[in-house]
Amino acid sequence: MRVLVVEDDEGIAAGLAAHLGRAGHAVDCLPSLAGAWNALATEPYEVVLLDLGLADGDGSELLRRLRAVPAGRLPDPATPVLIMTARDQVASRIAGLDLGADDYLTKPFDPDELAARMRALRRRQAGRAQPTLRYGEIEIDPAARTVRRAGTPVEVSTREFSVLLALVEARPHVLSRPQLEAKLYNFDSVLESNAIEVHVHRLRRKLGEGLIRTVRGVGYYVPGEPPA
């Protein structure tokens, strides 16, 4: 999942980047409203973790601007936003949620709770209620980041899991290589040109050749219905 962390405290930003990075998310941390807005206008983030008390203004201003932009281009006004702030008063929470935030977390928070809320946001975004995804004989558990094939655990790397999850969630739509890269890598990642191909190749080897299809010159997709 591509995550934008808008946080001016270096400790929190670094901690979040490390924690979410270990969970396989691609995290960009920006300390200011201006920087965050530029990032949102450049990359399609799947979730924004937004602090309210920023050095150059209030994070709610970013949220207001994001929700006000027209749909169909970046920044995407439908981007899920989770507010993480020290303001614990009910009025602040109500105000934040009424502004268009999808969730609200008060500092300090448990990193695992944050991850769970991010998964819930993603489920809501994908329009599903079940915590796991089933596709034919394959079962994906985003919380545990595990994959089973016909009930048997399959060892997949963090990146491979992210590619698989992105393709299964987007099925039957085709995801281009840049789209997959945007979900997997942050600004600072050094990317090899064939990284996505390598991940897809390994997934096919572990989960079956028919799972991920290639549209030559365009990208990859998982068929809407699993092969019989």
């Binding site: 405290d9 400790g11 929190i12 670094a14 901690g15 979040l16 490390a18 924690h19 270990r22 008390g53 993480m84 702030t85 020290a86 303001r87 614990d88 008063q89 602040s92 008060t106 500092k107 300090p108 928070f109 448990d110 990193p111």
Partner: protein, 469 residues
């Protein structure tokens, strides 16, 4: 005043009752409507009683006048007849009751006695006992009969003084007539009093409606939302109250907003390092041994110190109320305090690329709380060092004559973004630092003047103490 006190609990001017817009103390205390009604009815009863007494006296007086006139009229009517027709044959004998001839409520039983010049009774009629001949002429009240009863009498001689006629009326009948007339005057009033009281009660109830409406508006006020009484008040007697309430709400809300902002700032300052602590602790636990873990542990230590510093500020402010300050105030030398703070920060400032100095003409005696004043000065110095670019000259300046302390910097001359503060100088956020200083200044009866423009593009954050403090 506690900086950490939750704003919701700050102050107690909560006007909205739990039951909605109903008056909180409606069940307690006397009702103004009843109070007013009691006064009005009391006054009305007094006027009414005066009216009754006056009416009764007027009735009696008029009855007296009427009966006296009646007696005189009868005598004037009968006396000319005395020489010719007023004979014992035509006069009814006393034994015959005059009540049998009564034809009107106001008809009185009049008695008539006629004497000749020698005092012999020539004729007599009516219930009156025989009166003495030797009584005085004109009106008189005689005690006649056994037991004696008062009778009103009028006697006169004819022109030739040959006959003397006396007309009498029982005083009791006369008093009955007076009471009857007075009663007729007073009775409608007695019947009307309850009706008037009811109407007055309704009128007062209706007349007090603006006051009740105002009371409801006051009870419905939600000062958390800075609600004011917006509806125009038509009555000048209420306008002053509404103005006072609105001013009170405004001041309360301003204080509440300041408290809330301060609480938010402190919450942010305290929760931020705690959040960072939690994340770094997780990193230290999960990261493999190596630089990443070392970095997380270093950050853990730093965040713990930061949280501790915020906590120290919080506690210092929470413990310092104006009353306690008054008791704990002690003579101190601000110059010595400033030298200590500057000495402590100077090496770190230098390491961060700033210059820190002190400009003081000498001792600056003051009565105050040394810990809080040091806290305020440390905040000002920390902020100046943390929010100015490298190369900035930060100066702590004391002016005992003007009772002022200020921290000035020439950061604007250096332009560019503020440089990063060295780790020990990690400041409280600017807003919080200033609020802390503002609070400390207020506790000392001093004023805090932030961002004062000085010559040569310098700016100062100044605390001005009251003379004699």
């Amino acid at each position: 005043m506690s900086a950490a006190r939750p704003p919701d609990g700050a102050g107690s001017l909560r006007l909205r009752s739990l039951g909605g817009a109903c008056p909180v103390n409606a069940a307690r205390g006397p009702s103004l409507t009843r109070h007013l009604l009691a006064w009005v009815l009391g006054a009305l009863t007094l006027v009414w009683a005066t009216f009754i007494v006056f009416g009764y006296q007027t009735g009696e007086h008029e009855a007296d006048e009427l009966t006296d006139g009646h007696l005189a009229s009868v005598s004037a009517l009968l006396l000319p007849l005395a020489p010719r027709g007023l004979t014992p044959e035509v006069i009814l004998p006393p034994a015959q009751s005059p009540h049998e001839l009564k034809a009107h409520d106001y008809q009185r039983s009049i008695s008539v006695v006629l004497w000749d010049a020698a005092g012999r009774v020539l004729a007599r009629t009516g219930d009156a006992p025989p009166p003495p001949f030797a009584s005085a002429d004109g009106f008189a009240t005689l005690e006649l009969g056994d037991p004696p009863q008062p009778w009103r009498a009028f006697s006169r001689w004819d022109e030739g003084r040959r006959h003397r006629l006396m007309v009498l009326l029982s005083q009791r009948e006369r008093d009955d007539l007076a009471a009857d007339i007075a009663g007729q005057v007073v009775e409608p009033g007695l019947w009307l009093l309850p009706v008037v009281a009811l109407v007055l009660g309704l009128a007062i109830h209706r007349g007090l409606r603006p006051l009740r409406k105002l009371a409801q508006q006051v009870h419905a006020l939600d000062t958390q939302e800075a609600q004011k009484i917006e509806d125009g008040v038509r009555f000048q007697e209420l306008a002053a109250n509404v103005d006072a309430i609105n001013r009170l709400v405004e001041r309360y809300h301003a204080a509440l907003t300041r408290e809330r902002a301060l609480a938010n700032e402190f919450a942010h300052e305290l929760r931020t390092p705690l959040a960072s602590l939690a994340l770094q602790a997780r990193s230290a636990r999960e990261a493999p041994a190596g630089p990443a873990r070392e970095q997380a542990l270093g950050r853990l230590e730093e965040d713990a110190l930061r949280a501790g510093e915020v906590l120290a500020h919080l506690l210092a402010l929470a413990r310092a109320s104006r009353a306690e300050l008054h008791e704990a105030a002690q003579p101190l030398d601000l110059d010595a305090l400033a030298r200590r703070v500057v000495s402590e920060f100077a090496p770190h400032a230098h390491a961060g690329g700033r210059e820190l100095g002190l400009s003081s003409p000498g001792p600056f005696p003051l009565s105050g709380h040394p810990v809080l004043l040091e806290l305020a000065l440390r905040n000002l110095v920390q902020n100046a060092l943390a929010h100015t670019p490298r190369g900035t000259q930060v100066e702590v300046e004391l002016d005992p004559a003007a009772r002022a302390l200020q921290v000035a910097d020439d950061g604007q001359q250096h332009g560019g973004a503020p440089g990063e503060a060295a780790a020990p100088l990690q400041p409280l956020r600017l807003g919080l630092g200033h609020r802390v200083v503002e609070k400390v200044a207020a506790l000392h009866g001093a004023t805090f003047e932030p961002g004062v423009a000085l010559p040569d593009a310098r700016r100062a954050w100044r605390i001005r103490f009251a003379a004699g403090s």
